[in-house]
């Protein structure tokens, strides 16, 4: 049994309540018309809706009570993010939560007590990690020089245009460090918004050159590298949770169409050529959901152990593969309708391509799983 390893999967009362509330909230507040209304907007989400999510306490779910959070741990976010994925509700929640985790895991007491209450109170934050398109690149290109001035650009920073706080991975005196940058410190024109395949998401290239980082906002030490590794794994998990929700919604969309569309005098859902792949989407989504809640069980505020690392990577692999398959078949099964912008199927396949590229793709994680499992 050692290869199959840890198969713990539990679900707390708090998680169950969060799931119930989040499901209902997202269904009511984020119908497809609301999602589509944001596709071309600058911010990509409705501020009033974000305020409501903050008032429900979601921005602080995974942060300690001492910092204004609810102290439920990052696993408690999984049911919320899955529900948001199901409703295709894009807000800065994932970015903010991960920025909070990075500060929590790497910062000293003074830094976490000063910065985290803002995040718990709903001030949007994000993390800027990518120097290039390679999630497997362990080097850090952005330089923090000895005068505390930054030099370089981060790519594809999620929710950059609304974030008030950036947690940036930097190279400082030759070692990995973190710099916390406020949006008002950025020079004019620093943001270069990306045109994204997923129009429910927002990201930008951010040029941090010339920003002088406050001394108290520099995080150094051996915890930084570990925190960066762990937050990438948590990022993989949260994206997996979101993708699993989107895959479930995509499945519902397909099933609805198969039950109503007629061709050759029959409901197309009666054809096995469509039935059987739809069942494959169902069983794959089932597996994805099992993996994300297993991973949610395995992670906590401590340094992630090997079982947790395996769980997060497997969750990312299964969820992304599932959404890629569901989204792809979703287009095909809608026939000519599926080729239109009006058909919701396009939203899911675009989301699939976005999710696949966050925190390492399927191949990235399977390669690391091979090392963890096979030596």
């Amino acid at each position: 049994m050692s290869l199959i390893g840890n198969t713990t999967l539990t679900f707390s009362e708090e998680q169950a309540m969060l799931l119930d509330v989040a499901r209902e909230f997202c269904r009511d507040k984020s119908p497809m018309t609301a999602v589509r209304a944001q596709l071309d907007s600058d911010r990509g989400f409705d501020q009033a809706l974000w305020d409501k999510m903050v008032s429900l306490g979601w921005a602080g779910i995974s942060l300690p009570e001492s910092c204004g959070g609810s102290g439920l741990g990052v696993g408690a976010l999984v049911p919320v993010i899955e529900s948001m994925g199901r409703a295709m509700l894009g807000t800065p929640l994932i970015s903010s939560a991960l920025a909070g985790q990075l500060l929590l895991r790497a910062g000293d007491a003074q830094q976490t007590e000063r910065l985290l209450p803002n995040i718990a109170a709903g001030v949007p934050a994000t993390l800027a990690l990518l120097d290039n398109g390679d999630w497997g690149d362990n080097g850090i290109g952005l330089i923090l020089d000895d005068k505390r001035v930054l030099r370089g650009v981060k790519k594809c920073v999620p929710d950059a245009s609304v974030a008030d706080l950036f947690v940036v991975s930097v190279s400082f005196e030759g070692r990995a460090a973190l710099a916390v940058v406020r949006a008002d410190q950025l020079v004019a024109g620093a943001l270069g918004p990306n045109a994204l395949i997923d129009q429910t998401k927002r990201a930008a290239n951010v040029d941090f050159s010339g920003v002088t980082v406050d001394e108290e906002n520099i995080i150094v030490g051996p915890d930084v590298a570990i925190a960066l590794r762990d937050v990438r794994l948590l990022g993989a998990l949260l994206v997996a949770a979101e993708a699993t929700g989107s895959a479930a919604a995509c499945l519902d969309t397909i099933v609805d169409y198969l039950k109503t569309r007629k061709q050759f005098g029959k409901l197309i859902g009666s054809y096995q050529a469509l039935k059987h792949p739809t069942v494959e989407i169902l069983t794959a989504t089932d597996s994805a959901r099992s993996f994300i809640y297993h991973a949610a069980t395995m992670v906590d505020d401590d340094v992630l152990d090997t079982d947790a690392e395996i769980a997060c990577r497997m969750a990312k692999v299964q969820a992304c593969q599932t959404l890629l398959y569901a989204g792809d078949r979703g287009i095909q099964f809608h026939g000519g309708m599926g080729f239109t912008y009006e058909c919701d199927a396009q939203l899911y396949i675009r989301r699939a391509q976005w999710s696949q590229q966050q925190f390492g793709d399927v191949q990235h994680h399977r390669k690391r799983l091979a090392a963890l499992l096979l030596g």
Partner: protein, 400 residues
């Protein structure tokens, strides 16, 4: 009084020690990997002796009543014994139709007379049982079975044909699904369930040679065969309901089954172990990046099944399509097994082309044989394609 953790642990140690001391040596001939591969008398005698020995030691039918050959203890003991048998990879308990289908059913809803007549012989392996459900023209469509049973005085007269009868040529009894009323409006309501004797005039069996080259199943022909009227289980017309009831015992001792392993353990881990010494491009096969990727996929598939079983117990996490996890279990499990066994052979290098009988075949051709046999599970009990239809219609609500 339920057993304490310590008592159970002591039992675990005891049963493991017994298995290690008593597990028979390799007999020098091919042993069945599952109960569906008992092809000759030599194999039958070997497995019969082994099951008898386990029963005599008190590790089979543990939760069944003492007066019928059981031990009358909590099912958890049998579950532990089963786990140890699996872990230690001892030979199988072959009388599976008796242990896991007929026996629990009789124990559950049978008369005292039936219990006294049948249960002990199932446990001690004296009475081999077989199953007569599938018919040549009604493989996956079990509810449409056409074999006739007509009441005539104190007897039923059987006419028709069954197929895929496991150990039909060795069996003393059969659980039989036959049509007593051909005119019932619902096809299911015309079926009845029998505990039929096999050694009567008019019942003939013909062994089927499987794709592996081995035997294990028969065709079974009924020609004016007369069986006692009290062979019926329940009432006429309840056959389908009773047949469905037998499925619930598949969940093991806790659900009523006598226990014992019906097949040799073959996990992804076993699949990887068999690659010991296999080389590819001059290096160990597991260093090859493409192979590693495929093996990770296989591990994930197996792990997903375990995790699905865990999640299925959490109500909040199964609200989407209730019934999805249990109804898809057979499909996912058997297809995963088939793919994994094929991978096992594909990774063997040139030896992958060898078969049972070749001295160089890896583990005597164990995985080649296992792969070919895996189709018994993706076809038997409703093909994967029929399973997919059932899931599409009953879970997703898609039209027929």
């Amino acid at each position: 009084m339920s057993a304490s953790e310590q008592e159970l642990n002591e039992f675990r140690v005891e049963v493991a020690a017994w298995m290690k001391d008593n597990s028979p040596a390799d007999p020098g001939f091919l042993l069945p990997q599952t109960f569906m591969e008992v092809g000759d008398e030599r194999q039958l005698d070997f497995l019969r002796n082994w099951q008898h020995k386990i029963w005599s030691a008190g590790y089979l039918g543990m939760a069944w009543p003492k007066e019928y050959g059981g031990c009358g203890v909590e099912p958890i003991y049998q579950s532990i014994a089963d786990k140890e048998m699996r872990r230690l990879a001892v030979p199988i308990c072959f009388n599976v139709i008796g242990l896991g289908w007929a026996g629990p059913l009789i124990n559950d809803i049978g008369s005292e007379e039936q219990k006294a007549k049948y249960l002990k012989g199932i446990l001690n392996a004296e009475d081999v049982w077989c199953q007569g459900f599938s018919e040549p023209d009604h493989g996956s469509d079990l509810g449409n079975a056409q074999t006739r049973a007509v009441r005539d005085g104190d007897e039923y007269v059987l006419n028709g044909q069954k197929i895929w009868t496991t150990m039909g040529n060795f069996a003393k009894y059969m659980i039989l699904l036959a049509r007593t009323n051909p005119d019932s409006p619902r096809k299911y309501d015309g079926l009845s369930f029998f505990l039929s004797p096999m050694h009567v005039s008019g019942i003939d069996t013909r062994p089927i040679r499987k794709l592996t080259g081995e035997f294990g199943f028969t065709e079974t022909f009924f020609t004016d065969a007369r069986i006692p009227a009290d062979s019926i289980m329940g009432e006429e017309g309840q056959g389908w309901k009773i047949a469905m009831k037998t499925l619930q015992y598949e969940r093991g001792a806790e659900a009523g089954a006598a226990g014992g392993q019906s097949m040799v353990r073959m996990t992804v881990e076993d699949m990887i172990s068999q690659l010991d010494g296999v080389r590819r491009d001059g290096a160990p096969v597991l260093e090859d990046p493409v192979v590693r990727d495929q093996v990770v996929e296989a591990i994930m598939e197996e792990k997903a099944l375990f995790l699905g079983d865990r999640r299925a117990r959490i109500g909040h996490l199964t609200t989407d399509y209730p019934g999805s996890l249990p109804l898809s279990h057979k499909l996912r499990g058997t297809e995963m097994t088939r793919r994994m066994r094929q991978l096992a052979i594909n990774l063997q290098g040139a030896e992958g082309a060898l078969y049972v009988g070749d001295d160089d075949a890896r583990q005597g051709g164990f995985w080649q044989r296992a792969y070919l046999n895996s189709f018994s599970a993706t076809i038997g009990g409703g093909t994967s394609q029929v399973q997919a239809n059932i899931i599409a219609e009953h879970v997703l609500g898609l039209p027929k």
